[in-house]
Symmetry: C2
Subunit: 457 residues, 2 copies
């Protein structure tokens, strides 16, 4: 029996125990958003610490300005790669409580699914990696690669203290690749590697007109109305064909390759049920692209909020004194958030009529990213998933940003393999969150095989 | 001494007494907006009743669902015209009290101005007509025309019961022309007849997209964003040249005559101080028209309020589920509010992109109006003002609507002469409201002469 076979056997023998331990983890109500649960947060961090020790890691509980980060590592050799695993032990609030079939913090198995807050997001998924490392340690005395594991307690409240930790411990945390299981499979039986994320540029623009709201009868027609003016300016940012009109906006965009477009086209995607779920009749987007391409790999310009003037019932005959629009652009490689913000600002300035004053606030930005899937780390993940799930992963991108991925790239200089074991129907952030136990076990096995194939590099 | 000379002499002899009586009227704190002042409202109605009796009118105090309407009339002959005078005995709340130099309901004269809440708006101005009728009655036994006088108590709170009274008493109230002194002179020493008002069309438009706010990363690019879409639609309603783009919008507009444009151009108008007062750097409006023309005699399309999506601090990455715009168009003769609303609705429908649903609510409308200044009533008013103020009136229009004028036209079928004796610097609705006593006496004399010249018709 070779090493991998021993690890597999260990996981098979400990499958039931792993579920029972995960249930213990899920009984801890580690809600980071609500200070009433602070004691549970401490318990959860302690639980993770103990599990890491069992897995053979050297563990520190690192205090932060918020909840502690549990950090474990095991260095086996300078000749093998180092993999950095990330997860979070905090969970979303369980409300509304009355919608849970069994209580949020009293785990139950029904139809092969384990129900509890955090079952998938992220206790269940992070646990696959702890158990895979443990299997290597118990059977082979050590994992086949160097491992570093960061499990934080503030992901659901913005990971406010994570970057600080990464910066401070930059040297200790050096690694070759990161692994995060906080995404989903593409669908049941369709494990996925998420190899691309969109970036973002966020800003706010305010037009100021008269120093106070004015009577629209007395003044109307003689001065610029900031709401009319701002609506015209920001309303023109996307044209009838769904194209963003900011000059130079598409300059940095790396076009989708024919291969990617073929991959996306081969994914099953039921547009009718997609639309029905969100209550929309028809899609609208950039002409020449499919819905998946538009969501995953094309940049956008969305007004997230707009306000100005009277918001109450009925009419009020005023010229409002100001109007504000909150705008975010989702970006794709290699668009630069700062350049996009600058281009938007100067475009808006060029559109701004006489008699109103423009204020532009650049709020934050992040680059889009695409991991090169032809490299050895992606190949290792692919083989590991194929072993565990019986099918190679589909390659997908996501339309959102995952801040920790950006931090790993910016602070530690490494790419992240986003390997989701759950389903996007697992009710993350909703009542009756669950995790299919077959997926849990497959994920654990895939993690173990990943360590093996990474060592082969 | 002819009749007019006797009336003038009576007014001169009673000038001081008239001021003292007006002070008594101003001591009554008839604030219609605040139920704490209900007893004062009754006192004010009684004061008006007694004054009308003194002036020789047959008086009724008409109860309404709100505060009473005091109605007096004196029919002298079927061979002379009937003039309907309107005013209101209620006043604005006096707050902020601490800003008054002398108390709001303790009238004081300083520098020839009478200070008190209601001094101009409208107790002082309406009183000129009561005193002019009294002078005719005391000296000539009767006014030279038939007079009907409506003094209501709810103008400052929306005149909610006035239309009902006009409808119910339509026959009794039949008249040839109405006279209302609830506007201002154009400036000191520049008495004015306001011969035009703008109308209005008010509506609300909502675009509905997804059934709830969606994650702009996951969905952005694939569906229409209701805020982007509504901003584009309503932002396009006024073009870069200040022209409204609704098809057919200008069809009903009666162009300004060369004579009117010349009149407006001859009025002193300090654009710099106009802009400074409202805190705006530059005018913006329909090309080819002056600021006064734009405000008084050209239609507009203003967004009075716009809201959709996130309104709090910082960014929020959502596609909002809906967006709403509140829109009013100021109209000029002969634009029809219903036609404009219909044109706007179908224009917006034509602009509405796929994937959002448009809801249009038509809220209310009113016609613009222009009184024919070549007729005998206007000529009479002009002569009367010239006699009393020593200069003929300038002819002006106003950009707003005065609901009672619309009611008189719609219910009673008569035009209104808007004869303002006060100044727009008299602090109407503000602390230290005042009325120049020279203007008060001139207004009373103008009213008396108006009755005389109307009889000459």
């Amino acid at each position: 029996m070779n090493a991998l076979e021993s690890v597999d056997q260990y996981l098979t023998e400990h499958a039931e125990r792993n579920v029972e331990q995960l249930k213990d983890f899920l009984r801890i109500a580690s809600v980071s958003a609500d200070s009433a649960f602070a004691a549970e947060m401490t318990k959860a961090a302690e639980f993770v610490r103990a599990q890491m020790v069992d897995a053979g890691l050297n563990v520190e509980v690192v205090e932060t300005a918020g909840f502690p980060i549990v950090y474990g590592s095991r260095m086996v050799s300078e000749d093998v790669p180092t993999v950095l695993v990330y997860g979070h032990y905090d969970v979303q609030p369980p409300d509304p409580l009355e919608d849970w079939i069994t209580p949020a913090f009293d785990p139950h198995v029904r139809d092969g699914n384990l129900y509890a807050r955090g079952a998938t997001d992220n206790k269940g998924q992070l646990y696959t990696h702890l158990k895979s490392i443990e299997a290597w340690t118990k059977t082979q005395d050590a994992p086949p690669v160097n491992v570093k594991v960061i499990i934080e307690g503030e992901e659901e409240v913005g990971s406010n203290n994570l970057d600080d930790f990464l910066e401070t411990r930059k040297e200790d945390l050096s690694a070759d690749v990161a692994v995060v299981s906080d995404t989903s499979q593409y669908g049941p039986g369709m494990p996925a590697i998420t190899y691309g994320l969109r970036g973002i540029m966020a800003c706010e623009v305010t037009l100021r007109g008269p120093k106070q709201d004015l009577h629209s009868g007395v003044f109307g027609g003689a001065i610029a109305n900031p709401v009319n003016a701002l609506a015209k300016m920001v309303g023109a940012l996307v044209d009838e064909n769904g194209r963003v009109t900011i000059p130079g906006f598409y300059d940095g965009v790396i076009p989708l390759t024919d291969g990617e477009r073929k991959q996306f086209a081969n994914l099953p995607f039921d547009e009718a049920s997609f639309l029905e779920k969100i209550g929309v009749q028809e899609t609208f987007g950039e002409q020449g692209f499919t819905t998946l391409e538009r969501r995953w790999a094309r940049p956008t310009c969305e007004i997230n909020g707009f306000y100005g003037g009277y918001q109450g019932e009925g009419p009020k005959t005023i010229i409002p004194s100001f109007a504000t629009a909150k705008i975010t652009c989702r970006l794709v490689p290699d668009q630069n958030p700062k350049s996009v913000a600058a281009a938007l600002k100067s475009h808006l300035e060029s559109l701004c009529p006489a008699g109103v004053v423009l204020e532009f606030t650049d709020q934050h930005g992040g680059n889009g990213m695409v991991v090169d899937m032809s490299g050895p780390f992606a190949a290792a993940a692919s083989r590991a998933i194929d072993d565990a799930f019986g099918t190679p992963p589909v390659l997908i991108r996501e339309g959102g940003s995952i801040p920790v991925v950006a931090s790993f790239r910016e602070i530690l200089g490494i790419d992240t393999l986003l390997l989701g074991w759950g389903q996007n129907t697992d009710n993350l952030h909703s009542p009756n969150e669950h995790f299919n136990l077959l997926d849990f076990h497959r994920g654990t096995r895939a993690s173990a095989h990943l360590l093996h194939y990474l060592a082969e590099k």
